[in-house]
């Protein structure tokens, strides 16, 4: 019984503290509401269906952006991990581009693509691309050197070497990149919606805020956290299943 409750102790304490704050010190606050009120507001939003569309949009664009980042980041990261020369050549350019905050690109993306899916996907992809690249590169460098020699001995083609040796060996680290990426994608997607794009969960947060409904806003925040948690839990479960199927016993 206690075992099952353990994960919820800290969140419960946190929420209780917030509830207390909102009911005492922050009574007159326009930006905060007690968590109980937030849950009530969230239930209302769930009932009228607005949650489903907003969540769908945000998750869709986050997934598409993350997918795009992977499509580009994993092969490039592998290349950079395998070839010290190309890593050295691109180091300067990559490290100059990587720290550019994706939020600084929102105005630019707005101008190029306007509102909608495309600009959000582009910004998310930009933000997720770099962690995927860096983690893939680091992972490639840690692949058991003996396995690479096996690949050389068998004269595997570049593609076979990638798909049969590199990729499986990378899987555990790619999952770290995935879990990091999922969170970044979600964070950036919501941020884009808050800052510019009138769709999705971030936009809903903004509407709630500007409608002087802090309870609903908190409700949305809670919902965003919950969504992220569920997705991440899914990724972890997938990770475990795959690890088992890949012969990792301990």
């Amino acid at each position: 019984m206690l075992r099952l409750l353990r994960p919820f102790v800290f969140p419960a304490l946190l929420l209780a503290a917030l509830e207390w704050w909102a009911r005492t010190v922050g009574r007159s606050s326009d930006a905060l509401a007690p968590p109980t009120a937030a849950l009530r507001a969230l239930a209302g939003a769930l009932a009228d269906g607005s949650v489903v569309t907003a969540t769908g949009f945000t998750l869709g664009s986050a997934a598409a952006g993350l997918g795009l980042a992977w499509l580009l980041g994993v092969p490039l990261g592998t290349l950079l991990g395998l070839s010290p020369r190309s890593a050295r050549m691109s180091f300067l350019s990559i490290e100059l581009l990587r720290p550019v905050p994706s939020v600084a690109l929102i105005p630019l993306a707005m101008l190029l693509w306007g509102f909608g899916l495309r600009m959000e996907i582009a910004v998310v992809a930009f933000a997720c691309f770099w962690p995927v690249l860096v983690l893939t590169q680091a992972g490639v460098r840690q692949v058991e050197p003996r396995l690479l020699e096996v690949a050389r001995a068998l004269q595997l083609s570049a593609w076979a070497r990638f798909s049969k040796i590199m990729l499986p060996a990378l899987v555990p680290r790619l999952f770290v990149a995935l879990r990091l990426g999922v969170a970044i994608a979600l964070v950036v997607a919501v941020t884009v919606e808050i800052a510019a794009n009138p769709h999705g969960m971030g936009y809903a947060v903004m509407i709630a805020q500007q409608s002087l409904d802090p309870a609903l806003m908190l409700g949305w925040l809670f919902w965003i956290g919950l969504t992220g948690y569920v997705i991440n839990a899914g990724a972890s479960a997938l990770q475990r299943v795959i690890a088992r199927r890949m012969g990792e016993l301990a």
């Binding site: 905060l32 300067l92 581009l97 550019v100 962690p131 770290v176 990091l180």
Partner: protein
């Protein structure tokens, strides 16, 4: 000679990218309102660094980034190691962290502002918090990828929990952690900038925001390039440290 050539290659790649930009902005592919020409950007950068507030803004941002990063590394490694070795810690705190992780700083900051007020310390803690994840996750991963044989060696020697962490777990996780800290450095720069934008703290973030609002594209890009340069320099320093720390990997 060979060394010289290989030293110039990265610059050549960068120059090629710059050339592409030049062609794009001069060839009319991109509106100069949004993407300035490289010359205009350089002029803004020059002016901003010499007379404007760009230099002070950059200094403020760098300070915020470094402090936030240091805190993030500390937090990430400590929590990551805790979760990595202790199933109890995993059961108690991991779910909370996983819940908080996907909350965007852009949405949480206003709340934090309301509760804790608008102070540099508050922004700093948000930076540390936001930049902690890559370190935390890769530390956990580093511990998880430890080969059973080494855990057994530690068990056979009856290493204490802390000795296991410091002598086996952390050194093994070091490559992963270092990759994480490199990401965290970038993230802390980004969150510092975002924090400055949202919490209205002096720094490059605010400068970027105001430039974007005022449609001063060349100022905006000057700020972005400056961010890139800050990121590059700090990363290069970290890469240097990494090569020293991971000597055993390339004998």
């Amino acid at each position: 000679m060979k060394r010289l050539v290989s030293g110039l290659e990265p610059l050549a790649v960068l120059a090629a990218l710059g050339g592409l930009w030049w062609v794009a902005s001069h060839g009319g592919w991109l509106s100069p309102v949004f993407v300035p020409t490289p010359e205009a950007m350089l002029a803004s950068l020059h002016a901003g660094l010499l007379q404007g507030d760009l230099a002070t803004a950059a200094a403020a941002t760098v300070q915020r980034m470094l402090l936030g990063w240091g805190l993030a590394c500390l937090l990430g490694v400590v929590l990551g190691a805790l979760i990595g070795v202790s199933p109890t810690a995993r059961a108690w705190i991991q779910p909370t962290l996983e819940f908080v992780r996907p909350l965007p700083a852009s949405a949480v900051l206003p709340l934090a502002i309301s509760v804790f007020g608008l102070s540099p310390a508050m922004v700093l803690s948000v930076v540390a918090f936001g930049a902690m994840w890559p370190v935390l996750l890769s530390t956990v991963q580093g511990f998880a990828s430890l080969h059973v044989r080494l855990t057994e060696v530690a068990a056979a020697l009856q290493l204490s929990r802390s000795a296991f962490i410091f002598k086996v777990g952390l050194p093994h996780a070091l490559p992963d952690i270092l990759a994480g800290t490199r990401l965290a450095l970038t993230v802390s720069l980004i969150v510092a900038v975002v924090g400055e934008m949202i919490a209205s703290q002096p720094g490059l973030g605010q400068a970027l925001l105001l430039a974007a609002r005022a449609f001063r594209a060349s100022d905006l890009f000057a700020g972005i390039v400056l961010l890139g340069a800050i990121g590059f320099v700090s990363n290069a320093l970290l890469a240097l440290a990494e090569r020293r720390l991971l000597r055993w990997q390339q004998p």
